[in-house]
Symmetry: C2
């Protein structure tokens, strides 16, 4: 292959995976050697394993503050810099891990461990390790490994460090696969699972890219069936091409445009045997060449195969079984433009977890960065607070209840399990928790509100109510609440069907379009109803309201009759005066807010 990559200015965009910072000399790596044979999931065993790892912070006396961080395909143990060492390089998750509450994983409080994966080439046993039987590197004789084998290797390290239970296992991409394998395989060994930018298994498309990448490596004549160690030629070309391909899949199309459109026809002048005709070409050549200096082709093949074999289940029923015995609480994070590990795949995980009654929060981070998002400062700024909350950094301030919430609370029996659709920042759920309710869950799509709610220690997931409630099973909750949210729902009938499926009781609160002030405005002035004070469903103009449904109490009652829904109880309020409107006092005229309990 070509000469080594020359020293280059940083890439155009700050902080994409081309900057995935892997320290040159791993200054803080420690190595643990385990001589006991390691049985492998696909058969056979390794006669022993060495594990390269780094740690940050201190294990406390109770040994309950240890966090395991798991890396992605090309990462290593250097997740963060060691702040006491002024010469240390930044780690690949430097914005997430560090001392002080500015960091989601606060090493002043937590003991953080990150090890190079089994099969890797950064210190842990892998294809480049000497096979004691032959005295040569394993090469192609390195046995087929799985993510489960990676986790079993980490378990040895865990015991070695005197840890019996992780406060959390945290990982992105393949790291997420490891975290989930911990959760499903060793439920007692962890309290929290944080799975970022990951999936129950690879899509066919992602798998196909891996196949092409491995074909590029394995058909490189210098690959020599994997026995290239010590040879004059290494399969650098194939490995570089695999890496180029990987890079395309880590970026969103928009991120690539931002990076390369300005100077498409001005490639950087590289010393390379690869094509350098377009700026994206020189970028890929640079990335490919840089990678071969720090990575081993056999490791790339072994690890990518482990990732491709990873399979928690191809359908909802299988995923439910997979997660049945997990006992941790969960944070799942996806990125809106990640087309390698898609938000839809994260929702598959979430739907199976919530239906299994697990504690889970989920957010789809709005991002232009693609899969890379999990590594970038801007995106870490968005999901970091959720990680912090899951690790105990809870905002204890109680949000004030509104009048309306107080009336709604009357509909909820003591101790009932509650699902709050459109829960906002968790006002109602936090109050219920303070009252001693155990099983509480929220749905919210507004990212800032969701983050605020999770920061309050609530479990909230980000799913579209118009798609129904696939995340929940029949009769999963005592009460399902839809509070001041009906007006934005497109598929009202479908959602009510779903709510009555999921809840023993359903409580809906909504603004009454036929309130007297509105009728007057309409009948006398011929103008679209609008609340004078602003705020609420009718605080907008006809042409800019985010709302799309404008029922009266009578309309809603008709709807319930048509759809076979029984109304058990209702409260009617005139929020302009604070008065309760009695049922015989024409609430459809005199109330501007209704709270109705229905069931099928």
């Amino acid at each position: 292959m070509a000469a080594p990559a020359p020293s280059l200015p940083p890439a155009n965009l700050p902080g994409s995976t081309d900057d995935l910072r892997v320290a040159g000399p791993l200054r803080h790596v420690q190595t643990a050697r385990f001589d006991e044979p390691l049985p492998l999931e696909l058969g056979g065993s390794l006669p022993g394993v060495e594990v390269a790892y780094e740690t940050w912070g201190k294990l406390n006396a109770a040994r309950d503050n240890a966090v395991l961080v798991c890396h992605a395909i090309s990462g290593d143990s250097h997740a963060a810099c060691h702040p006491d060492d002024p010469d240390d390089d930044p780690g690949w998750w430097d914005e997430l891990i560090g001392p002080g509450t500015d960091n989601a994983i606060d090493t002043d409080r937590l003991f953080v461990v990150c090890s190079n994966v089994l099969g890797g080439c950064r210190g842990t046993t892998g294809p480049g390790t000497t096979d004691p039987k032959t005295g040569r590197p394993y090469g192609a004789d390195f046995p087929a490994i799985t993510v489960g084998d990676m986790v079993n290797t980490q378990r040895r390290l865990m015991h070695h460090l005197g840890i019996t239970r992780w406060r959390a296992v945290v990982g992105g991409s393949l790291g997420g696969h490891q975290a989930m394998t911990w959760a499903t395989g060793y439920p007692d060994a962890m309290r929290t699972c944080v799975a970022v930018g990951t999936s129950p298994r690879l899509t066919s498309q992602a798998l196909a890219f891996d196949v092409v990448a491995r074909n590029a490596i394995q058909t490189d004549p210098s690959f020599a069936g994997g026995q290239y160690y010590g040879q004059p030629q290494q399969p650098d070309t194939g490995l570089a091409i695999a890496r180029m391909l990987g890079h395309i899949t880590y970026l969103s199309p928009a991120a690539m445009d931002a990076k390369f459109e300005r100077d498409r026809h001005q490639p950087r002048d590289l010393n390379t045997s690869f094509e350098k005709r377009f700026s994206v070409g020189s970028y890929l050549a640079h990335q490919g060449q840089k990678f071969v200096d720090r990575f081993d082709a056999n490791s790339y093949v072994a690890i990518s195969l482990a990732m491709d074999r990873f399979d928690l289940g191809h359908d909802h029923a299988t995923l439910m079984k997979t997660f049945a015995d997990t006992s941790c609480d969960w944070l799942v994070v996806s990125f809106s433009t990640d087309w390698l590990f898609t938000p839809a795949q994260s929702r598959q995980l979430v739907n199976a977890l919530t239906q299994s009654g697990k504690r889970v929060s989920y957010t789809e981070v709005t991002s232009n960065a693609g899969h890379d998002g999990f590594l970038l400062a801007e995106e870490i700024g968005k999901y970091g607070p959720l990680v912090a909350a899951k690790l105990g950094d809870i905002d204890a301030s109680a949000p004030p209840l509104r009048d309306h919430d107080r009336h709604l609370l009357d509909f909820i029996p003591a101790g009932a399990s509650v699902l709050d659709l459109g829960c906002g920042s968790g006002r109602l759920l936090a109050e219920l928790r303070d009252r001693g309710h155990q099983t509480l869950m929220g749905v919210e799509v507004a990212q800032d509100k969701l983050i605020a709610a999770v920061r309050r220690g609530l479990d909230v997931i980000d799913v579209d109510l118009n798609a129904g409630l696939p995340a929940f099973s029949d009769r999963q909750f005592d009460v399902v609440v839809l509070s001041a949210t009906l007006q934005i729902i497109e598929n009202v009938a479908g959602l009510l069907d779903e709510m009555t499926r999921v809840g023993q009781r359903v409580v809906v609160s909504f603004s009454n379009f036929a309130f007297r002030d509105f009728r007057k405005m309409f009948a006398e002035q011929g103008r679209s109803p609008k609340a004078e004070a602003g705020g609420g469903s009718y605080g907008y103009e006809w042409h800019d309201t985010p709302n799309r449904r404008f029922p009266s109490i009578a309309d809603f009652e008709d709807f319930c009759t048509q759809r076979g829904l029984a109304i058990h109880r209702a409260s009617y309020l005139d929020t302009t005066t604070g008065a309760v409107v009695e049922a015989d006092d024409d609430p459809n005229l005199n109330a501007d807010l209704a709270i109705v309990e229905v069931s099928r």
Copy 2:
């Protein structure tokens, strides 16, 4: 590389590019030889060119029925079977081209020509052709070519066939690049341009995939700098890997799932040196191996580079200049899940064309097939009728006018140029055309309605009105009409701003929410207004209406005042009686429909 691909059962899904039917022996190929040197756009020249081509149908006496069909990167001259030959193979666009009106390109009526591109390996001069200077194949000495050079080669064939002007030039993907190069380079040489699944230039992402593919080919040791002809080893491995990568980009993720998820872990048993661990792996191996039997690596490099260099302009202003002198009418077609040549790129083309005042129709075909869509029977069923309409197969039946349309026509001065937003099946525009209006254009997102309108010979584009009107320039039309569409618009203020920018006059018709029957229903019964008879904006229930804006006439007038829009003229109708409501007869109470002309 591996042994030749064994005979395999057809792939799981019918009709994807894996079935891109390229006839074994090109039974109907003719060859034209042009000895005059061909100057090349990037410098230098070829001493002469041979062009392999096929034809269907007969050139008529007026020589005005010839259609040029242009193929994509791996296609050839065999676009369709020759129906008189029972042994002929189907062509790659067999569902689009053939005898009879069932085919969009009817060879009973049209004379169809398709030639292998310059740089190809299916009969036309390319890197495998003997260089007369050396007596050996050009190989790496084949000069760099462009899409413009491909078109100049086709021009020689055109003159050879006695054609002076194409009835149409039609192409998909790279074929679309050729068609657009004809339109921009030789405006007098064609009447219609049909550009399917194509783009003004490749995205950075698409370009990056091509770079990786070429790197795989050019680093194959058997590539030998392109001088591999006659050598015992060919760069089959690199070419196969390039093809594998291409295949991933031709399919949508959903299409890949449909194809490979059912049997992910049951690969076909291939005789291959490529990985065959997953079903998608065996598919890619099969596709890769099959490709090397019929394609030449140097051609792949030469043609993909021409495609990557193709650049009509990176921004709107440049594209406007590019299209300034074109004189054909246009059909642009994209596919909703095409991530290689995206719908957004087709809209870039459309915006520049419409702003330049060109006649253009555009549809985004809803499809799961990805880029492959342009070749598939199901998608051809959707866009084929548009191609037929552009080639003269017009539905002359006049759709009946509604009362409301008749009143609206009074607002349009004789001969005015008109843009109709939400034009439906073209009722109003067809009437205006019958009245002699020359410049007419519609916008419609409902695919069936758009197709009906284009079948009537109207120019209609499929763009989202909520995104404004970037397809149109300031004061481009005398009148911009928004008829019975206001109710579905999310961004009302933004759209009205855009309409007053684009039109000298703006005419808006809308249902009056404050019509007396509705007020009565609301004031007396406290129910959301609903039209008794059904139909119109108020023919729905509150919970299922597709509409999201419910203005009264008074509301709309207020809005105009607030937004600085002057109302010049208005008509008010009571469609329940057919009566016209005079301005002094309280139209906000007595009319259920308003037609208002405004300007800024």
